[in-house]
Subunit: 516 residues, 2 copies
């Protein structure tokens, strides 16, 4: 393995797990060639009813074609309430399988027990987002091979383009029928959309639907289609939908966060985005929810209606929908139970899988139709490169989510963050890890001022007389550093434990081993 520098000057390996990589060259610079992945042609060899329900775990594992080194995939709609990743991986370990590649759309702290399977060699590495101790284990060099982090759109691209070949997809479904049609909106464990699993269902060699609510055909809506499914497994309980609410998904009471949220709403208004038919995505963090509330107030005052908001969906967003301030919520992920109910019952609350939401390798997607994307970050640097994956201590603690996709697509991408957290400033000369390039980040909004990317003089002109606390990013960095001091750099090794892919599949940065 040799190292090269990509167009951002980041040092990256020239190959990952034995395959040559493509270095990042710019947010839209890569020109894909070739064809999308093609799966084997399946067939139906009988008349009359088809029933794919297996008798239990043993029957399922016997029927599946399993081997060491294979790639198994999961989706994260249950977030920290998921029961099935641990269950499946423990059972695969029990079969003596080794070197498995785990390809979840995301892992959460509830999956921390996978660390043992990493250390024992059952799991060679993860291709997917890691939130929690699995990320720490990766940072510390415990994975046998190099982890690959992708955005939600990037994961869909990798599956579509054949870079991530899935041998078995395990799809956890709150409701399913005997043919394998499945959805997330009905049943006692209803969790909302199932979109993150859609590409898996379409491209994996073998597809398993695991449900705790088996209904008679047809299961409607059929977010996952039975024509793509091999086996259906009924279990007692697939997960705890109460836990799709994460700690961050609450309206903040922090005066700092509220100030940032309000500044953000004022900025969006001053920049002229709040007009009839506009669109935004803000996510479910404390600042984002606050922004949504403040923006709602402005929309009410101006009597302006949004054409759509892209979820993650929350009760706050659902209330705006029900109030008539939004035409549609387009949704990849429910963050609370009112959002699940809304998706089930409101015909203006629509499931949008990564194909329609985020896929760069399609003929356009929703991200491009966003006027405003409001995102959080752990770090941003003087060139507006953003980091959402690692902390300043170098630890890989967060997945990319839709960050890259929204940043690259939306007409105006705004980062909101406190100027420092626990005396760690958010603005760096150079971020620890680049998740998204500065060309995709237009504005940084902190409680100490708003920094506009010099690449966007148009935005500056639109807000310069609005009385907003505009400040050059270098000046803000120095101001914050003078309060916090400059923190020590982490001790990083020279082994890349993970690479960060840009949404087009090029490598935008490496994540380096953290030394003790």
């Amino acid at each position: 393995m040799n190292f090269i520098n990509n167009s951002l000057g980041r040092k990256i390996p020239d190959q990952v797990n034995g395959k040559p990589i493509k270095p990042f060259k710019g947010a839209f610079a890569d020109e894909p060639t070739g064809k999308i992945a093609a799966r084997s042609i399946p067939t139906t060899r009988s008349r009359g009813r088809i029933n794919k329900v297996v008798s239990g775990w043993d029957d399922l594992l016997k029927k599946l074609n399993l081997r060491s080194g294979m790639t198994v995939s999961f989706h994260h709609h249950f977030r920290n309430g998921d029961y099935m990743v641990n269950e499946v991986m423990t059972r695969l370990a029990g079969l003596g399988l080794k070197d498995l590649v785990v390809a979840p759309s995301a892992l959460f702290p509830t999956h921390d027990l996978l660390v043992d399977l990493i250390k024992s060699g059952v799991i060679s590495h993860v291709e997917g987002s890691m939130n929690g101790q699995v990320g720490v284990a990766c940072s510390k060099g415990f994975m046998k091979r190099t982890a690959i982090l992708r955005s939600h759109g990037g994961r869909a691209r990798a599956i579509q383009d054949g870079d991530l070949h899935i041998d078995v997809a395990f799809i956890v479904a709150p409701t399913a029928d005997e043919l394998g049609n499945a959805n997330g909106v009905n049943g006692p464990s209803a969790c909302g959309p199932l979109g993150y699993a859609l590409m898996d269902s379409q491209f994996a060699d073998q597809v398993v639907v695991i449900t705790d609510n088996l209904v008679r055909y047809p299961c409607i809506p059929w977010s996952i289609m039975g024509g793509n499914v091999d086996y259906v497994l009924k279990v007692d309980k697939v997960g705890d939908p109460e836990k799709i609410v994460s700690g961050t998904t609450r309206l903040t009471k922090s005066p700092t966060q509220l100030l940032i949220a309000e500044l953000c709403a004022k900025f969006v208004d001053a920049a002229g985005f709040v007009k009839d038919g506009f669109s935004f995505q803000a996510g479910a963090g404390g600042i984002s929810l606050g922004f949504t509330v403040f923006l709602g107030d402005i929309m009410r005052q101006k009597k302006v209606k949004a054409s759509f908001v892209h979820g993650g969906s929350t009760e706050i967003l659902v209330n705006l929908l029900n109030e008539g301030l939004i035409d549609y919520i387009l949704d990849l992920q429910a963050f609370d139970l009112p959002a699940v109910r809304s998706l089930r019952n409101n015909p203006r609350h629509i499931e949008s899988p990564p194909f329609s939401s985020y896929l760069q390798h399609a003929k356009g997607c929703l991200a491009n139709m966003l006027d405003v994307g409001v995102l959080g970050a752990t770090e941003v640097d003087l060139d507006f490169n953003a980091n959402v994956n690692t902390h300043s201590d170098g630890l890989l603690l967060h997945g990319t989510g839709g960050f890259s996709d929204v940043a690259a697509g939306s007409a105006c991408t705004i980062l909101t963050a406190p100027s420092f957290r626990k005396r760690i400033p958010i603005i760096k000369e150079r971020v620890t890890t680049v998740t998204a390039p500065g060309e995709a980040i237009d504005v940084l909004i902190t409680e100490r001022g708003i920094c506009i990317n010099p690449r966007r003089p148009d935005l500056y002109d639109r807000v310069k007389n609005a009385g907003l606390p505009l400040i050059p990013i270098k000046e803000l960095m120095e101001k914050v550093n003078s309060i916090t001091g400059i923190p020590e750099k982490p001790r990083l090794g020279d082994k890349p434990v993970a690479v960060i892919e840009w949404r087009d599949g090029t490598v935008i940065d490496s994540v380096w081993q953290v030394l003790d």
Copy 2:
């Protein structure tokens, strides 16, 4: 070109249009190999809003990559009310293109002007269903190459498996947005589902959405997804949805048809199918609608509810849905405007494209979940082989529709037909053309008696004491022949003008040139 006999003893060419064919070997005998078709990887190369709306026909035709010999596709949801096939083909002819392959899901009498384009060499042949003079032109040998007829599921299979490669798909959409998301349920020309165009949108090299109702993003529902669409063209009027009602789509007053419909409902009841959660598909012909009404009466008496009915949908079916006698209508085609309204407004009326409805080369489809399929035919023979494509005069006048798919999938397939039409008996020693093999046809119901396929002694046992007029098929044939006499055989040439594909892509029969 040489000729071979397939497993039904039908004489077929060993190649079609220069490609070797696979002979039919049995309804479920073919074992597909290889991969599904893979299209080139597209990409998005810009930030912010995407607008694919072209300024008009000239702009569109300039942007498209067009050449002689290419394949262009259409869908038939507007049936005889479609305006766009003629418009597009006339414009392509105006560009001087020749030898075009027209691949519609179906053509109707409104498209009879294509005959001129066939005669002048603009169109080399049709791969798709032909209802009307285009079929007559094919029968008379006017097409330069051999036409290929496929069922709805077979067409989806051919596109998926790469046997039917589409260069440009023209998708007529009653509502669309600037990204190309489109549906058939909204707008002044609402026609119902758009499912027949779905595979085209996913596999064609270039995809055009033509609409007369351009709405702002997002167009919801997005039956066709913008991520698959290249261009959007706005025209004044795409078609006349009043004309999706065909002449046959009316409840019959014919005593013969009503008798057949009633016998059919009684048979289905006597055979034990009418129980809670059962399912059926009956179509929209006069006998089928009558059957649906009689069956509704039985369901009411027995207080039995169907889990689903597969459309084509009609007002009669919609009334059963609204009455609560059916859980879901799953729908590929609206046959009248009340059905269009129901699909738009009733969350239990669901669009089901050929993938989920009919695709044999998937991991199961709806057709297999049908308990009862009630179908019409032009001829049936002593081995229960069925013909829906040609008349006894040899003329190719009808597409296959979902016939093969329902016949092969449903647990009990019933043909309903008058024992003779215009003194032409329906039962032949040997049908003019085999559309579906006798192994997929279980029962023939005529006004003069019910014939059960000897392959289904189980069905015979279930109904033998129910007082139904059961009669061996040979006896019924002789009885009818004694009334009508045996009609003269048509004068057929030795040139195959078309082949009939079974849904798995094997050739089940040839259609021979009709000599004057």
